[in-house]
Amino acid sequence: MSHLLLELGCEELPASFVRRSFRQLHDEVVSRLEAENLACVSSGCMGTPRRLIVWADGIPARQPDSTKTQRGPGLKAAYDAEGNPTKALEGFCRSQGVEVADLTQEGDYVWVNKHVPGRPAQEVLGEILEASIRALTFDKSMRWGESRMRFARPIRWILAAYDGAVVDFSVETVQAGLMSRGHRFYSPGQFEATTKDSLIDQLRAAKVEPDPEERAARIVEGAHGVADGKPDIQDSLLDENVFLTEWPTAILGSFSDQFMDLPEAVLVTAMAKHEKFFPVRDASGKLTPHFVSIRNAGQDDDVRGGNEWVLNARFNDAKFFFDEDRKRSLDDFLAQTSRMTFQEKLGSVRNRADRIAKLAGALSASIEGVDRAKAEKAGLYAKADLSTGLVNELPALQGKVGAEYAAREGFDPSICEALGYQYDLGLCVPADSESKQLGLCLLLADQIDKLAGYLGIGQIPSGSSDPFALRRAVTLLIESSQEIGLETGFWPLIEKAQQLYAEQNVNLDQAQIRKGLVDLASGRYPVLWKNYRYDVLEAAMTTDAETMLDPLAIKFRVEAMAKLATDSNLLQTISRPINIVNAAVGKGIDVGADDFSLVPEGCLDSAEGATLLREARKLGTVRSAEEWFNGAKILADPINKFFDATMIMVEDASVRTARLSLLNALRAWFEIAGNVSKIVVEGS
């Protein structure tokens, strides 16, 4: 049957690790089987928080015999002048266990071809499985007891069977055997299994559903089965429950109506985020005072009672602060932020509100569909909720609480949406584009104010230390600049922010901001656009500060350089004028103007040069990587013909300068899209 079964039993793995880990374990095993000439015919994997299961079928009983070729000493070292073997050659033969007569000669060396008998699979599998387990990587790993090994959580048992027999190996103190274990609480006993089918059957009998797809189906079906309305099953929460359980069943619980006037975000956060419960909605989508809990063990009434008890405690907490907050208005909260320090050198959160309001107002002109008055109002109240009791208690709800309180006071709906949206583009999907644009406007103003402030007082992230999340701020800036098509780049906005700080008597160091931003941006672009080659990114990013702080320009350059990198002929062609101009500049030779309209056509004294210049002058303003690339393609042929027919460095200075000026204008035009010399030609 040549069937391999591996079950790695662990203490509860983090939910987010399980799927990745059983897949990685599978891939490690399969690729090692191949590398050892024991490739399987079919294979699979599954897992729970307590076990990673991998199986493979059709593994040969033993490795095929093979021939291993090894290089020996060089011929000169191997034989003396009379052609007799040297000591060195004899030593080599001894170490390889062969006779001199077995050797062959090829090139300048002697070679030995050794017959290597294949080993039985049973023997090789132990090494493969141990190496595969040790090869697993995790976002975070740990050590336990006296083990020196790092793993996600302690390993408790290993089941490893090949053709019904145990595969002999151990990892740290855990010896592989044939025993598996059931559910930690429902069926904690051990049982023997040697095939995948038998393991799965026995696991199911022991209340463990090993297949995550099956668990997901059980959860969804169970949740719909017990809920009166519609359980709100978000994919991420479903997945979390799938990997927090081995035997999931759904229970319906309830909470008191008195909590129903809490903001929906509070209810949903407590249920879904803190407790991993599914909220239940009615036909119109409104929350009902019910939830579905997915339990892994226990009896219905006891677990339900406990679930309701904890949710009640959480809601009580929130309600206390919500009721206190109700006694005050958003203006009160805004006023109170004057007592909250944003940063001691940068003033209070209240000072910040004034700056964000003005910045958002200024920004509104560059963002389609944003009303200036609304932008200013959203900016002013953006941080007011930081002084509310509810945000103090549930910081993750910043923005959401402000949105809720603003709605209660009758603020324009788009302002409320924008307040709720300001911290994260992906946080929620606003109902309409006006809210979305306003939210983006607010987000940009917020991050620009933050970056200008912190960088301007020298708070520059270094290494792993980025306490104010400035890297993330730059990422948000880049993403939202692209989203709204910000044509100016963000440097003018930073200058505006700096001016607003100055109006509050806070003086920031502009050179420091600029340098800090450029450094941060050059670190962020490669992370955001990691599908591009390193040399492409480098070519695009070798430029001045203003361009670096203009995500649209950088994106254009990256795309243009990526296209260029695929066409080595074109790259070679456009490198020629650039190299000649750079060399001439290096020697102090006048290279003339770098603009096609200023090239003295009459002095070129070259029909090919005139043709090239004519073609170049036809190129309009380049708006996309596509246009740039097509332009370069059009010029390629005339450039090659020009070089074929024309000497550049001629004696006559006016002719030489005219020709160099043509090349210089070409260089300038090509370099709009990047520093071409950084591109690495494939295969060279």
Partner: protein, 331 residues
């Protein structure tokens, strides 16, 4: 009516009995203000070093910023933690822990016990661990950690650290809601009778009254003292086997031999680690009060945490000196 209720005292007794039966020594709380049971030197210093260490104790814990003027029924600035340390962590430590839930009165066959990923880090102590928060029917009842680092030093071997919130466990077992209206210390005294006055008054002190200028000065003084104490030279007196202040009259080689002898006997290093550590704990508590008072800005915060970590790490490094010979022999 209250016959079946589990009192606070009874819960602690059950935990003591259980962990005692697992081979843990039942220790007493530490007498310096600490933010958690982890800061008790029986955890913070003793998780380091190679010797086995199995202990359990209750530790009153102070977290000034967590105070709610007693208006939150389940949150206080001073509460209790029940702490278990087993070094090295036994292979079956999770099973043993689950046994403790049954021992204190949760029938784990009826409840939904979950181990949910939760890693822990105390920057000011240079300490970190990997493990779980344990949920019973959705309520976090325990922090379960495999201690990886203390004072920035890798723990080797690794211990298991189990921390329970006894107040909440009682409320859960009794299906009650409030420290102040429901919880009984024993059959006659309520938790409120024992701890309300302290809680209420400290809230006012922490949030409204504490003299921040004085506290900033105290921080500096305790920090300087911790440093001075740790740098104070001490040596083993050969005749009496006690530590003495000042340079040793012995020749280097002889002193080293004596030092190794005491280290072998478990007498500790030639340094005033415990006093220096206590003074670092004082800094930590003062910082926490200042933080609750809103007197520490975000940037200052990081700087204060670094200063505390500096003192804690220095003490931990000196503490490790006693194992030097042992660790060298091993490697």
């Amino acid at each position: 009516m209250k016959v079946l209720m589990v009192t606070f005292q009874e819960l602690v007794r059950r935990l003591n009995d259980y962990w005692s039966s697992q081979g843990c020594a039942i220790l007493q709380p530490y007498d310096v203000e600490v933010g958690a049971g982890t800061k008790h030197p029986s955890t913070s210093l003793r998780v380091l070093g190679p010797e086995p260490w199995n202990v359990a104790y209750v530790q009153p814990s102070r977290r000034p910023a967590d105070g709610r003027y007693t208006r939150n029924p389940q949150r206080s600035q001073r509460y209790y933690q029940y702490q278990v340390i087993m070094k090295p962590s036994p292979d079956d430590i999770v099973d043993r822990y689950i046994g403790s839930l049954d021992a204190i009165g949760f029938d784990t066959s009826k409840h939904d016990v979950r181990l949910v990923e939760d890693d822990w880090e105390d920057q000011a102590a240079g300490a970190s661990g990997v493990g779980w928060e344990v949920w019973v029917d959705g309520t976090e009842v325990t922090q379960f950690t495999f201690f990886q680092q203390m004072g920035g030093i890798d723990c080797n071997p690794v211990c298991a650290e189990i921390t329970y919130g006894p107040e909440r466990l009682c409320l859960m077992l009794n299906r009650q809601n409030s420290f102040w209206t429901d919880l009984q210390w024993n059959e006659t005294l309520s938790y409120k009778q024992v701890d309300f006055q302290l809680e209420m008054q400290h809230n006012i002190y922490n949030f409204d009254v504490a003299d921040t200028d004085l506290l900033f000065k105290l921080f500096e003084m305790y920090e300087a003292e911790s440093k001075r104490v740790l740098e104070t030279e001490v040596h083993w007196n050969k005749e009496f086997g006690i530590l003495e202040v000042g340079a040793s009259p012995l020749a280097d080689e002889e002193r080293e031999a004596l030092r190794a002898e005491h280290a072998q006997a478990g007498d500790g290093p030639e340094a005033l680690v415990y006093p220096a550590f206590d003074l670092a704990l004082k800094c930590s508590h003062i910082f926490n009060v200042l933080d609750a008072r809103g007197a520490v800005s975000v940037t200052e915060r990081a700087a204060f945490i670094n200063r505390i970590r500096g003192r804690v790490r220095a003490a931990c490094l000196r503490h490790m000196e006693q194992y030097k010979a042992q660790l060298q022999a091993k490697s």
